[in-house]
C-alpha cells in the first residue's frame, strides 16, 4: 500500500529515543506502559496484530489495555498495518426458532476454536445476509409468518447488534448481495400492491444510510429466492424457476442461463470469478461464466467426504470455505469445515487442495446451518 510506505517515510525524521512515545495525541491517558520496557508505539503494533476477536480477554489484562481496546487509535493502526483478518461466521437454527451465531478464526493453527457471538435480539426466519467491511447485515425474514422489513447490523469490531434502517418493504427468503459497497436485495415479497411492485428490488447505500428502489421490469419479479451471488460485477438472484441477472453498471436485467440454473444448488460462493456450489450428488462444482459450463472441483486430498450434506460455502480471503453436516452419535450431528485453495490447472480444469479440514461443532440433529459468511476486520 502506498499510504503505509509514505507514512513511514515521512515519520523517520523524528527518531526519538524510547521510552515515552505518545500514540497520536499528546495527552496520553495511560499511567502505565502497555508492555513494560517497550515504548507504547511498538506495543501498540504488537497488540494491533491480535484479532479483535480476542479483545474480551485482552481487556482484562490492565487498565491501559482496557482503554486502548476502546480507542480509535487501535483500529487505525490495524488498518495501517493491513491486519484485517477474515473470520468465518456461522449461523445455526435450532428447533424452537432459536438461532445461534459462531465465529471461527480460520487463520489459527489446529485446533480451530469456535467462539460464541451474541445472538440477534430477535432473529426472523428466512433472513437474507450481506457483509460490508466489518459489518454483517441480516435482512428481513418472517416473524409470525409476516415478512419483516427490519435490518439488523452486527459490527464485528465491537461485537454488537443494532437495528439498521428498515427496507421499504418486508421480505422473507430474498436474495441479497454487495456490489460497489452497496447492498442489493430482491424478491422475497409478493408483488400485489404498487409499493411492493416498485420496491421488488432495493438498494442500500451505507454512506447515506437509506434504501432506494431499483426499477425492475415486471416479468423478472419472481417471488422466492433460493440463492444469490455476485459474479463479474453482476448480481445473480436465483428463483425457484430460473433466475435473474442484474447489472447495476448498465442498470440492465436479464435471465440466468439454463446451464447455470440447472447446476445451481443451495448456497454458492464465488472465488476468482468461478461460482462454486454442490451438485445433487454432493460434489463441489464450479461454473465458469466465460465458458458457460460447470466443472467438477478436483480435490487432491481425500479429507472431504463423498457426499456433502447440507453444505454451505463462502469465499474467505480468496479461499473456498465449505461447512457441512455429518451424522453424529445419538441425537446429534457434527458440523465440519474445510478451507480449500482453488485454482485452474493448465487444461482449464478446477483443482483444489485442502488447507485445513476439521470437526468444528456438535449440534442437536434437528438444527441446521443457515448462513456461513466471511467477515474481515
Amino acid at each position: 500500500m502506498n499510504s503505509s510506505s509514505s507514512s513511514s517515510a515521512s515519520s523517520h525524521s523524528e527518531i526519538s529515543p524510547p521510552p515515552i512515545v505518545a500514540t497520536g495525541e499528546s495527552e496520553s491517558p495511560h499511567p502505565f506502559l502497555l508492555l513494560p520496557n517497550l515504548p507504547d508505539d511498538v506495543a501498540l503494533q504488537c497488540i494491533a496484530r491480535v484479532p479483535h476477536f480476542y479483545y474480551s480477554d485482552l481487556s482484562l489484562v490492565s487498565k491501559s489495555w482496557n482503554s486502548l481496546l476502546r480507542s480509535p487509535i487501535l483500529f487505525s493502526t490495524r488498518n495501517r498495518l493491513n491486519c484485517t483478518q477474515h473470520f468465518l461466521f456461522i449461523n445455526i437454527r435450532i428447533p424452537g426458532s432459536s438461532f445461534k451465531w459462531f465465529a471461527v478464526d480460520h487463520t489459527q493453527s489446529n485446533p480451530r476454536n469456535l467462539s460464541p457471538v451474541p445472538p440477534i435480539p430477535s432473529q426472523a426466519i428466512g433472513s437474507a445476509v450481506a457483509v460490508i467491511g466489518p459489518r454483517i447485515y441480516v435482512i428481513g425474514g418472517s416473524i409470525n409468518d409476516v415478512p419483516s422489513s427490519t435490518v439488523w447490523i452486527f459490527d464485528s469490531r465491537f461485537s454488537r447488534w443494532e437495528v439498521g434502517p428498515k427496507m421499504r418493504v418486508g421480505r422473507e427468503f430474498a436474495a441479497a448481495g454487495v456490489l460497489s459497497g452497496k447492498i442489493y436485495v430482491m424478491g422475497g415479497c409478493l408483488v400485489d400492491t404498487f409499493a411492493r411492485s416498485t420496491n421488488w428490488a432495493e438498494v442500500f447505500d451505507p454512506v447515506l444510510g437509506s434504501w432506494a428502489p431499483v426499477p425492475s421490469p415486471v416479468e423478472v419479479r419472481e417471488k422466492w429466492m433460493h440463492g444469490s451471488a455476485v459474479l463479474d460485477d453482476k448480481f445473480y438472484a436465483m428463483a425457484d424457476r430460473g433466475g435473474v441477472v442484474y447489472d447495476p453498471g448498465e442498470a440492465s436485467w436479464g435471465y440466468v442461463s439454463t446451464e447455470l440454473d440447472l447446476g445451481w444448488r443451495g448456497r454458492a460462493a464465488v472465488v476468482d470469478g468461478i461460482l462454486y456450489c454442490y451438485d445433487y450428488l454432493g460434489k463441489i462444482r464450479g461454473y465458469d461464466v466465460k465458458e458457460g459450463i460447470w466443472k467438477e472441483l478436483k480435490v487432491v486430498q481425500k479429507d472431504l467426504p463423498k457426499f456433502l450434506c447440507g453444505a454451505t460455502m463462502t469465499n474467505i480471503g480468496g479461499r473456498l470455505s465449505v461447512v457441512w453436516e455429518e451424522k453424529g452419535t445419538g441425537n446429534q450431528k457434527e458440523m465440519f469445515c474445510a478451507e480449500i485453495e482453488v485454482h485452474k490447472d493448465s487444461n482449464g480444469g478446477l483443482c483444489g487442495s485442502i488447507v485445513w479440514s476439521q470437526l468444528i461443532l456438535v449440534i442437536p440433529s434437528s438444527s441446521s446451518i443457515i448462513h456461513c459468511l466471511a467477515v474481515g476486520f
Binding site: P31, V42, L60, V61, K344
Partner: protein, 184 residues
Amino acid sequence: MSSTKIFLKSSDDKTFEIDETAARASETLKNIIDGGCLDGVIPLPNVSSNILPKVIEYCKKHGGDNGSSKKIANGGVDKDKEILPDYDEEEDKREKVRVDELKKWEEEYMDFDQQVLYDLMLAANYLHIKGLLDLTVEKAASMIRGRTPDQIRENFNINSDFTPEEEEEMILIEDEWDDEWAFD
C-alpha cells in the same frame, strides 16, 4: 559488482561492517546513505553491540527487498496467477521453494529469548526495517493471541491495576457471553 562497505557503530562503541545493498534494507540507513552525509561511520546510539550483529544478519539475508516470507507468499504468488491465467508452474514451484527456504531461515533466526526480542523490535523500529519489525512484532503478538489475561501478564511482566472488585465485574460480563454459547 562489489558493494560499498558501510560501518555502523553500536551504542557501546563497537564498529560493524555491512554491505551498502544490505544496509538499504533499513529506511533510516538508506536515507543517510542517499542523503550523502556518509562520514565514514554511522553511529547508532540506540542499538547495542549485542543486537547489532543480529540486525545485520537480517539485512544481509534480505538485501534490497525488505519483505518477509509472509508478504511474498500472500502477495506475490496469487497476484501473478490472476494476471496470467496460464501461469508458469515451474516458476510457481521455484517461488514456493524460495518462500519455504526463507520461512525456514526465519524460524531459525527468530529462535531467541524475550530480551533479544524486545531489543530487536526496538532496533527494527528505530532503523525502520519493516520486514524485521513485522517479524518481531508478530512474534510478540503470538504471545498475546489466544492467551488468558494471566498468561499475558506473566509473558510480559504486566501488573494488573484492576481492583479485585473491578476484575470480578468484568469477568461477570464475560460469563454472560459464555452462557449464550451453550446448547440447552
